[in-house]
């Protein structure tokens, strides 16, 4: 991977690295001026800019790398950036970071120093940091880090002169070393001492990357070490086995600890009274004592009031009650009566299960307003940066049921589409977690459309929503907890960097909401039409009646009318279609509050849609997916039956 050639002294290279959007390109332009070349890095589609500058009579080639978050690459851009650090024999590596996020970005400076690179640290955007009341003691930071540190705001040319001077004076001698805990140091030494060849990267950095399972570094070591590689591999495997899943986390936490020490007296934030509201809110959202009340507030105002009351109430009344019932349906029905002489065709277009009266009406007038308001709430919450904090908050609860906060991602995705979320379970670390999350997704995470319609459905009946919520949460926790006891496996740790919280940006929210609505509508509209076609065909051939008759005893056990069968049958193909069917039954006054609640709970817990089942099969195999399918079906109807008995016996909702 890395060639070991040295570049001539006359062609000194300066590499700019750092996270995206920290001002690397601004610095690049400020150093190089107008004459630059942008080309794809060899063998990749990643663009790299090169330019030249002259400082004190010495010519330098400046290379602007793609954004990177760590020396351990995940994306192609990061791979290219690291390769440049390894291949290009840099006279200086300028790590540009955003002063406002120095705590998050400084660990990469440590990584660069550890790698033995001639690092210059540029603390950029200092003007904005100072405006928010933050102060950074640059000379003290330089003393503590042991490398040249420049503070500046390159956009205003502040610090540019100092950067140029640092480049001219840069020397890679005597790079400092930052000590980690004795355990980790022993592990690093154990791997590093097995390496016998010369590498451009420092052996300590190499050992850390090997311990973090960096495939490219592993290949490099394999090709360089030859027969000795087995020894290296054994040392890595032994250390990894001793620490199992938490090695990566340990290294990250150690770097954090070192950075915290470095910044302890160097960075002064505004005092508590002047602490930014966003920072305080961020702390509240992750603290269990304040986080759960905030979560309840978000759910109450965002979901119950806005989606349930406004979306499913006001908007659906407007679209379905006024527009379709008063204008569009009568118009289309009268046109069909006038121009279509055949009964079967009239039924197909405007009948009980007609393409227009059912398919179009469900998709446009019932589901779209509800899902639209849900997506709007979702986009606001997402843009604020609440989701990663929610992950931290529920990490404790998830741990109790054998999961970690990382499982929140598929769960959150599940509220958008369970099928996709089932696929994303592959990002979880252990098989145990993947199976558990797949089960919980299939059982107790309704997709956005179903959630919206059910919330809308239940919001109008006093107490129904509370009973539904309690049932679903209890089933979720109980099944999760019991499954965790049954399924053996590791319980991995969870750690993630929290991005800053901010006010929602109008453009972002609008674009994300419109994007999601467009995607959803174009996706479901043909499916709703197909579903109404199938229902129509079932009605015309008698197959639907036969199916409904078959389901009637099950509906009877749940205390539901036979008409609810159709909603359940099609809920399997699209849960939102089934939920919309329940909405229709309730609007027609065919369901009592108890029946409505029982139907909603059963359908929420009911077998996942066919697409999700197929995805489960793909991800987990036939055995596990069929097991989950049977378990979920039996449990859904058992809970529905028990709830019906309980509600009738206790008189709640009667």
């Amino acid at each position: 991977m890395a060639s070991q050639t040295k570049m001539p002294a006359s062609d000194r290279k300066v590499i700019l690295v750092g996270n995206p959007n920290v001002g690397k390109s601004v610095l690049f332009n400020a150093l190089t001026g107008a004459y630059t070349v942008v080309s794809n890095y060899p063998g990749t589609s990643v663009a790299v800019a090169r330019g030249h500058c002259e400082i004190s009579g010495q010519r330098y080639e400046i290379l602007d790398t793609p954004g990177m978050y760590s020396l351990l690459p995940i994306t192609e851009e990061e791979r290219v950036a690291r390769e440049m650090l390894l291949l290009e024999d840099a006279h200086a590596v300028i790590h540009v970071l955003d002063a406002r996020n120095i705590e998050r970005m400084l660990p990469m400076t440590l990584q660069l120093i550890e790698a033995g690179l001639p690092v210059i640290l540029l603390v950029n955007i200092l003007d904005e940091a100072e405006r928010s009341g933050m102060s950074i003691d640059i000379p003290l930071l330089q003393e503590k880090l042991g490398i040249p540190v420049v503070g500046g705001a390159i956009r205003n040319k502040r610090g540019l002169k100092e950067v140029r001077r640092a480049i001219a004076e840069c020397a890679a001698d005597d790079l400092p070393s930052f000590g980690y805990s004795s355990d980790l140091e022993k592990d690093i030494a154990k791997v590093a001492t097995t390496l016998t060849e010369d590498y451009r990267l420092d052996l300590r950095a190499l050992a850390l990357l090997l311990l973090q399972k960096d495939e490219e570094i592993l290949d490099l070591v394999r090709s360089s070490e030859g027969d000795n590689f087995e020894r290296v591999q054994q040392a890595v495997a032994e250390t990894a086995f001793e620490h199992r899943f938490d090695l990566h986390l340990r290294i990250s936490l150690e770097r954090k600890r070192v950075c915290k020490g470095l910044l302890a007296e160097t960075v002064r934030q505004p005092d508590n009274q002047r602490l930014r509201f966003a920072d305080r809110l961020s702390a509240w959202t992750t603290n269990p004592w304040t986080g759960f009340p905030i979560l309840i507030l978000v759910l109450y105002f965002g979901i119950y009031q806005f989606v349930g009351k406004f979306g499913a109430g006001v908007l659906v009344d407007l679209c379905e009650g006024s527009l379709f019932e008063n204008y569009l349906n009568p118009l289309v029905v009268s046109l069909a009566d006038r121009f279509v002489p055949w009964y079967w065709l009239r039924e197909l277009v405007v009948g009980e299960y007609g393409v227009f009266t059912l398919g179009v009406r469900y998709a446009v007038a019932l589901v779209l307003p509800i899902v639209g308001t849900f997506f709007l709430t979702f986009s606001v919450i997402e843009d604020v940066g609440y989701f990663p904090r929610l992950a931290m908050l529920v990490d404790r609860i998830f741990k109790k049921i054998g999961l970690n906060g990382r499982a929140v991602i598929p769960m959150v995705l599940g509220f958008g589409c369970d099928t996709m979320a089932t696929m994303v379970t592959r990002t979880l670390e252990t098989v145990r977690e993947r199976v558990l999350v797949t089960l919980l997704l299939a059982l107790a995470i309704p997709c956005s459309a179903q959630l919206g319609v059910i919330l809308g459905l239940l919001s109008g009946v006093s107490g129904a929503l509370l009973v539904w919520t309690v049932c679903i949460v209890l089933v979720f926790l109980l099944v999760g907890f019991l499954s965790a006891q049954v399924l053996p496996g590791e319980r991995p740790m969870f750690y993630m960097e929290l991005p800053p919280m901010r006010l929602p940006q109008f453009h972002n929210v609008l674009v994300k909401t419109m994007t999601r609505m467009q995607w959803y509508f174009l996706e479901i509209f043909p499916l709703f039409i197909i579903a109404s076609l199938l229902l129509w065909a079932g009605k015309m051939t008698g197959a639907l009646e036969w199916l409904v008759r078959g389901m009637t005893p099950v509906m009877g056990l749940l205390g539901l009318p036979a008409d609810a069968s159709a909603a359940f049958i099609f809920g399997f193909f699209r849960r939102d279609f089934g939920a919309a069917g329940l909405y229709d039954l309730q609007e027609a006054g065919l369901l009592t509050p108890v029946q409505l609640t029982v139907a909603a709970v059963t359908m929420t817990l009911f077998v996942p849609c066919i697409a999700q089942f197929l995805m489960m099969k793909k991800e987990r195999g036939w055995k596990v997916s069929l097991g989950i399918f049977l378990f979920v079906t039996v449990l859904a109807f058992s809970v529905g039956w028990s709830l019906n008995v309980l509600l009738l016996f206790s008189g709640i909702l009667s």
Partner: protein, 58 residues
């Protein structure tokens, strides 16, 4: 593009190429963050052009 969950930047083309369940009729309309796996909506062309025009004007 910026991930709505972890806040990191990534190239949507690379993300979509790697992750797609293939169950949607119109193909995958999401970009999955390579850092955290979160599904970010892929902005349709007309909205993207509108945004870029707006940015240019600003």
């Amino acid at each position: 593009m910026k991930c709505g969950f972890c806040g990191r930047h990534f190239s949507p083309a690379e993300a979509v190429e790697k992750e797609s369940c293939g169950r949607c009729l119109r193909g995958c309309q999401k970009a999955y963050c390579p850092y955290c796996g979160y599904g970010n909506p892929l902005i349709p062309g007309f909205l993207d052009r509108w945004l870029k025009n707006k940015e240019k004007k600003e």
